[in-house]
Each structure stands twice: as structure tokens, then as C-alpha cells.
């Protein structure tokens, strides 16, 4: 298996593409942070008993007044900024991935139904999608969040409501192409039911372009979630994401206490940058028209 991968054209092209390698490395680092982050820092920033108000607003360790225990400094409650970032990254990444999976599931199902059955069902689904696309996704998310309230689950709902459209449209388009193909006609002649045709013949053949969309969408969702949290309608204060960390630090940004918001900001930037680099490589690799 591993050997087959190392011998594949995918791996061959990956090795020759510097931005793909950089993207992969960044993503790998973030996967490690998300999986093992809490083990890497001494402090649990949300365990109040571990906080010491005397340590508040310490600058990063390399600046005068810095404390070697707090590499990136501390915030107003004496929380280690590095620990906050690592916990926040987990929240941001989890929300991004979970919302992507929900969007993908719902969007793909609706796209398959619309493309395969056509007619009125298609018209209804696609008009809803069109309507949704005519508003900025940020606006829809903001509107939904103010309607249903804040919380991690509410953020997921809002992001899914914004994100399913792109899958539905892509899958519907590929489905229309697939059902014209002779192997789908052959499946009809073989006597398969529509459900089986969709599951066995259409679905496996419309998934490839979704990999690219899903990858890039995780980045987009991380940004939208950060914006929502920054505006105060995102995650609750007990589970701060990177966006909320930036907001918390923003209040004191111009008092010279820049580190509490700049480092979370850099973290978001690095994460989305890595995802997009890798997404671009996938787009080139998986798009048959560019070959």
C-alpha cells in the first residue's frame, strides 16, 4: 500500500511541487497540534485554579520583562498565550472540519437528488441554492447566529447552512454528466433500482472534485468562524477559538499589549495558508482537464 503510494504519479508530482510540500508540512504540524496540543503545554488555560493574576500581561519571553515560562506572553488573566492558542486552534480546526463534513453530507445528497431526478425537485433545490448564493455568506451566518444564539453547535448550523450550496451545485453538475454515460444506462439495463444506481454508479464518480472543495472549505470555515467570534456571535467564552482570542486581545491591542491578539492572528493565517497551498495542488492533480 505504502509502496504503491510512493510509486504513484501523485507522490511523484508532490515531490516536485514546493508549495505542495510546504502546505503539507503546515497541515501536518497543525494535525499534531490538534491531536497532542494539550500534552505540549504545562497550563490548561481554562482551569482557573492554574491561573495567577500576578502573571497577567507578561510580554513574550524574549522581550524585557518576559517570563521564560510563558514563551508568547500572557493575557489579562495570566493565561499563557501559547497554551490559549493551542487550545483555540483545536476549537477552530474542529469547527472547520465538522462544519465541512456536515455541509458535504447535506450538499452532496441534495445535489445527487436534484441531478438524478431533475424536474420539480431539481428546480426547488437549485432555486434555494441560487437564493442563498445571492447573499454574502458572512451576512447569512451573522443573521442565523443572531437568530439562534451562540454556541459551538449553533456555529456549526450556521456554517453548514452557508456551505452546502457549493457541494450541491458541483454534485448536481457532475451527476447530470454521469447519468448520460453508458455505464449508467448499462446499470438500468441490468435492472438496478434508482437507489442502487445512485449509490454504486453515480456517487463514486462525482466525489473526486469534492476533495478539493472540502479542503479549501475547511480554511474558509475557519476564517468565517473567526469573524463570527470576533464579532461576538460565535463560540462561547468558555471554549474560545482563535477568533475569540483575537477579539479578547484586540481590546488592549493599542495599549501596546499586542501579543495577545497578534499571535492567534498569525496562527489562523498559517493554518489557512497551508490548507490553501495544499488545496491548490490537489486542484491541479485531480482535475483531469489540466492533464
Amino acid at each position: 500500500m505504502m509502496q504503491a503510494f510512493l510509486a504513484s504519479q501523485f507522490f511523484f508530482n508532490w515531490r516536485r511541487n514546493l508549495s505542495a510540500i510546504i502546505g503539507s508540512v503546515i497541515i501536518a504540524i497543525f494535525i499534531v497540534i490538534v491531536a497532542f496540543g494539550p500534552l505540549m503545554v504545562a497550563q490548561d488555560p481554562y482551569d482557573l485554579t492554574q491561573l495567577n493574576l500576578l502573571d497577567s500581561y507578561k510580554p513574550p519571553a524574549w522581550l524585557p520583562g518576559g517570563d521564560p515560562r510563558y514563551l508568547l506572553g500572557t493575557d489579562g488573566q495570566g493565561r499563557d498565550v501559547l497554551a490559549s492558542i493551542i487550545y483555540g486552534t483545536r476549537v477552530s480546526a474542529m469547527i472547520g472540519i465538522a462544519a465541512m463534513l456536515c455541509s458535504c453530507l447535506i450538499g452532496t445528497s441534495l445535489g445527487l437528488l436534484a441531478g438524478f431526478y431533475g424536474g420539480r425537485l431539481d428546480a426547488i433545490i437549485m432555486r434555494i441554492a441560487d437564493l442563498q448564493l445571492s447573499f454574502p455568506s458572512m451576512l447569512i451566518a451573522l443573521f442565523l447566529m443572531s437568530a439562534v444564539g451562540t454556541g459551538v453547535d449553533k456555529v456549526l448550523i450556521a456554517l453548514t447552512a452557508v456551505g452546502w450550496v457549493v457541494y450541491a451545485r458541483t454534485v448536481r453538475g457532475s451527476t447530470l454528466g454521469e447519468i448520460e454515460k453508458e455505464y449508467v444506462q448499462a446499470a438500468r439495463v441490468a435492472g438496478l433500482t434508482n437507489a442502487k444506481i445512485i449509490r454504486r454508479h453515480v456517487l463514486p464518480n462525482v466525489l473526486t472534485p469534492l476533495i478539493v472543495i472540502a479542503t479549501v472549505q475547511v480554511g474558509t470555515f475557519i476564517l468565517i468562524e473567526a469573524s463570527l467570534s470576533f464579532l461576538g456571535v460565535g463560540v462561547p467564552i468558555t471554549q474560545p477559538s482563535l477568533g475569540l482570542l483575537i477579539k479578547n486581545g484586540f481590546d488592549v491591542l493599542f495599549s501596546g499589549l499586542w501579543w495577545t491578539s497578534v499571535f492567534p492572528g498569525l496562527m489562523i493565517m498559517a493554518m489557512v495558508f497551508g490548507i490553501n497551498l495544499f488545496g491548490d495542488f490537489l486542484r491541479d492533480e485531480l482535475n483531469p482537464r489540466l492533464k
Binding site: 454515460k181 453508458e182 455505464y183 444506462q185 448499462a186 446499470a187 438500468r188 439495463v189 441490468a190 435492472g191 438496478l192 433500482t193 454504486r200 454508479h201 463514486p204 464518480n205
Partner: protein
């Protein structure tokens, strides 16, 4: 004894669904929405006996593939009757069609699009049979699949591979094995060799002929290539613009074509053995649109013999002896054939 396949007055119309503005027209100053209808097949009748090979020939857009796919019930017919061994399947729904699928299978044109790229070859071949016997009989199906692969010239090891690992000719063999899996009496073959190189084409044609002798198969063979048709068919039907214009036993059609379109088709076919046809009818112009059929005879806009009667009266297929029929007014007025 019933015919394997009996088709009567088959018609197939496709409604195009363009935007409102494209359909808008003005008649006498009043706006009207016109319905755009493609008249793909216009009243085609024929039957195929058990073990017989009937070929439908014609140029692209003549409706021959639509006839094939309508009989296979990939499309629902607009009107007409389709009978398989005497059983009228025209109005059958999915559940009632399932046992019929065991009598009638199909081979497709494009060896690259007719196999699902994400399925293993053995799953592709087993699929029609599994629908018939249910998932409980997987073991027997696996044995049968292996035997089928061997019969079409592949081996058991090939069964574990994916379609992209095969050449066009091998893929067409896989498609043939799939069609054979349910032991059908009729195979509808839609241009099965036209996408293949000529040396591979001969291999597949030979295989199809061998299988016919071995299993007593009847074929409905769709093709545009007259030399292929001449090789494989017992009887030939010539289609033009959704109409059957001539049917005849093979040798008779090649020796004595009666419809002007058949004659033009035969003389236009390129040949490496130039002795064959002396008569030369060269057609001018192009096939009219199936959106608006000409009045009278469908072929009159390109026919060198057409006269006023052809524009008024649509000729019907009439028997001219020895199993040959043609739809042409020249049969009534042979003196107008001045070539």
C-alpha cells in the same frame, strides 16, 4: 412460435426544454409558446426471430440508437408496442421489467464510458445476474463470472482489475461478458465495434458470431458501417430521419437496393476493393432537422428522383417480394428511375 423481439409502430419524441424566450414566437401578432419536439423515431416496425441478426444502419441522427435504447427501456417509448417473446413490455414498470432483463441485454458503443471506472471487472460482469438471483447466490455468481470472463478471452486474474487497465478491445469483451451473464436470448448491440481499431474490430466481430452460434443469440445490431453490417447481419433495416426506409435480407440489399437512400449509402461507402458498386448516386445537402420533419417523404430534400408526389404523400413500407420492403414512390412509378 413467437418472435424473439417484435416492434410495432415505435415512436419516440423528446421534448426539448429550452428557456421561455427561445420558445416564444409570434403568430399573427399574438405571442405563442411553441413546444420544441425532436421526432427521433417515427413509427418503426420490425421483428427478430430467435437466433437471427438484424442490423439497423443509417447515418448519425437517423434514430437507430434511439430505437435500441427504447427497446432496452432506457427510454420510455412515446407510442407503439414492444414485445419480447410475445410478452408486451411497453408499459412495464421497473419491477415487472426485471425478469424481462434476463431475456434482453445490451452492449454499448464506447468501451471507455460503458464500464464504471470505480468498479472491479468481476463486479461489473456480475451486476445483471445479481439483480436476477439476489445477493444470496454470490458464490454461484462468482463461478459464473469467472467462466464468462474465460469465454470472452479474459482470465480470473483480470476480474480483480479496474477497467482503465484494459485496452478498448478488452473492455468491449468485458461489456459482452456482462451482457451474457443472465443468458439472454436477445442482445442489443449499439455500435459495438465502431470505437475500435480495425484489427480489434475483427476480433470482437468474430467473438460475437461465435457466441451467437454457441448460445443461439439473436442480435439487434446497430451500425453505420456497411462492411461490418454485411459481415454480421442476416437481415438489414435502413433508417433515415427516424423512418425505416428499406428492409431486406442481407445479400438482396447489397445486390439490389431499391430505396434511393440505400443506393446512395452503398455507393458512398469507401472501399479498398473498388470493384463493388458501379452505380453512383451522389447525395447533395444534409439531413433535415428532426425538429421539423419535411412533409411527404422524409428523404425528398436530398433525393435525386424526387417529384411533386413525394412532397405531398408520405410513402409507406411496401413488400416488393423475397422479404424486401421499401418506402418509396419509385416502386409504383419505376419509369422515373432514370439512372
Amino acid at each position: 412460435m413467437n418472435a424473439m423481439l417484435d416492434v410495432e409502430g415505435l415512436e419516440q419524441r423528446f421534448h426539448l426544454n429550452p428557456g421561455l424566450l427561445d420558445r416564444l414566437s409570434f403568430e399573427g401578432g399574438r405571442p405563442r409558446l411553441k413546444d420544441l419536439v425532436v421526432h427521433a423515431v417515427n413509427g418503426v416496425s420490425f421483428s427478430i426471430a430467435k437466433g437471427e441478426v438484424l442490423a439497423l444502419v443509417g447515418e448519425s441522427g437517423c434514430g437507430k440508437s434511439t430505437v435500441a435504447k427504447t427497446i432496452a427501456r432506457i427510454y420510455d417509448p412515446s407510442s407503439g408496442r414492444i414485445r419480447i417473446e410475445g410478452e408486451d413490455i411497453t408499459d412495464y414498470d421497473h419491477a415487472k421489467l426485471l425478469p424481462v432483463r434476463a431475456k434482453m441485454q445490451m452492449i454499448f458503443q464506447d468501451p471507455f464510458a460503458s464500464l464504471n471506472p470505480r468498479q472491479k471487472v468481476r463486479d461489473i460482469v456480475a451486476e445483471p445476474l445479481l439483480q436476477q438471483v439476489g445477493d444470496g447466490a454470490r458464490a454461484e455468481v462468482a463461478d459464473k463470472t469467472e467462466a464468462l470472463l474465460a469465454r470472452v478471452g479474459l482470465n480470473a486474474e483480470h476480474g480483480g482489475r479496474y477497467p482503465h487497465q484494459f485496452s478498448g478491445g478488452q473492455r468491449q469483451r468485458i461489456g459482452i461478458a456482462r451482457a451474457l451473464s443472465v443468458n439472454p436470448g436477445l442482445i442489443i448491440a449499439d455500435e459495438p465495434v465502431s470505437a475500435l481499431d480495425v484489427s480489434i474490430q475483427a476480433q470482437i466481430l468474430n467473438l460475437m458470431m461465435d457466441l451467437r452460434d454457441e448460445f443461439g443469440l439473436a442480435y439487434l445490431f446497430i451500425s453505420h458501417d456497411l462492411s461490418v453490417v454485411h459481415h454480421i447481419a442476416d437481415r438489414i433495416g435502413v433508417m433515415y430521419l427516424g423512418f425505416m426506409v428499406e428492409t431486406a435480407p442481407r445479400d438482396q440489399l447489397f445486390a439490389r437496393p431499391r430505396h434511393p437512400y440505400t443506393r446512395a449509402l452503398l455507393s458512398a461507402a469507401p472501399s479498398i476493393r473498388p470493384s463493388r458498386m458501379t452505380e453512383e448516386i451522389e447525395l447533395t445537402g444534409e439531413v433535415p432537422s428532426a425538429l421539423s420533419l419535411p412533409t411527404g417523404c422524409c428523404f425528398r430534400t436530398r433525393c435525386p428522383f424526387a417529384w411533386d408526389r413525394c412532397a405531398v404523400e408520405r410513402p409507406v413500407l411496401q413488400d416488393i417480394g423475397d422479404g424486401q420492403s421499401a418506402a418509396c414512390h419509385l416502386i409504383d412509378e419505376p419509369e422515373r428511375d432514370n439512372q
